[in-house]
Subunit: 236 residues, 2 copies
């Protein structure tokens, strides 16, 4: 009976439809949580992410999947929400230098704040996020010191944190893994990566470009593992 | 020429349409900033707040006023977004005990995150918020230690903070003022409080109830100052 929904503690999992967040969701479930998946539709260039997030959530039988619209396009300032070009054809080794145009101002802070709001309303103290600081694209809000600062904030910010009913914890199980290690771990946990999607600039049909930083990192990792990436790519 | 828009540094000001945020906006302008007002429509029970925020923004000639919808009702957990009753007829002295049903989970963290996102996109480093920790209703996210933690987070979270172009600062000019002091200061700065609205549970016509914590605090402060509150109240 311990596997029945409701008998396990709840965790909110930020689910984008990408490879990393799908793996983070699998980790949350493997750790014994009932998973409450939150997909924030923040005005990305594409809706394929939403469809992938739904498919991933369904395949892992989340307790609930909530989609919330927050149109960060109103603020501007990122190629990922329509301002400027997504960089293409960069080598993995070049991505460590500087923060690219796909950086969305304060994105993870907005996402984690919303996850915190839902967690508190659910009586949950655990939040999972699929960030990692090795094979990342140089984003400041993917670093361990950032996540630690958010955890501190969460416990000061909330009624649940202040009243001592529990202590909020930000889980970033992929934080120090390489992309290959993430994929290997996901396979162990049964993640179906054909349902996921990582491209910053997919075709209108939802095919990945194969050339943005995110595609480049993902393809290189599958290749190193001697596996074929099951995502659909355009023209490669 | 120094008063021309564009020649002064920019600040994002969270503007709810209430007495406190109107005063915080006046402080930002008095401090020499071009004010970028952000109103987050998070599913409050009423739309009168939005109308007041627009009137206040217009009256103070903000550089820009942005309204963003983020429907926190999806998460539930607060009387302020439709879950349960707004407490009425409490005395000012009783409000220091416990966190009331009008607490919205992680609200100020969500609001400040969005303000941070816009600030970074605007090239601004200053964010004004009208919280205060004296005549407040016991909310954890109105305390100085919370605001300090958010400021720390902001500088870790962002490209602008990490690259050292400046340092984000959260300004809470009302933090340690009583409601009377806030109103007195607002009058000095020329705030027109007839445009503002503080009620948690207004009538369908937009009249304040006069009985919720927020109305009680506001009315008591005007009375102590020997002034009439210019807001419209229902039945008192």
């Amino acid at each position: 009976m311990t596997d029945q929904p409701g008998s396990r503690p709840r965790a909110v999992v930020l689910l984008s439809g990408g490879l990393d967040s799908a793996t983070a969701l699998a980790e949350a479930i493997a750790a014994g949580f009932d998973a409450y998946a939150l997909t924030v539709l923040y005005g990305q260039r594409h809706t394929v992410e939403r469809d992938c997030a739904r498919a991933v959530g369904d395949s892992m039988k989340v307790a609930r999947h909530l989609e919330l619209e927050v149109d960060l396009r109103a603020f501007g300032g990122s190629a990922l929400v329509g301002d400027g070009e997504v960089p293409k054809d960069r080598q993995v080794g070049d991505m460590a230098h500087g923060i690219p145009a796909t950086y969305v101002p304060a994105r993870n802070t907005v996402l984690l704040s919303l996850a915190l709001a839902w967690a508190e309303a659910l009586g949950a103290f655990d939040i999972f996020v699929g960030v990692n600081c090795l094979d990342y694209s140089g984003y400041p809000d993917c670093r361990p010191e950032y996540l630690q600062a958010f955890e501190t904030l969460a416990n000061l910010a909330t009624k649940a944190g202040v009243e001592g009913a529990g202590r909020f914890k930000i889980h970033a199980p992929l934080l120090t893994l390489t992309k290959e290690q993430i994929i290997r771990r996901g396979h162990e946990l049964g993640v179906d990566y054909s349902l996921t999607h990582s491209c910053y600039d997919p075709s209108p049909e939802g095919l990945a470009c194969g050339r943005c930083d995110s595609c480049t990192l993902r393809l290189a990792a599958f290749e190193k593992l001697g596996l074929e990436d099951p995502a659909g790519y355009a023209g490669i």
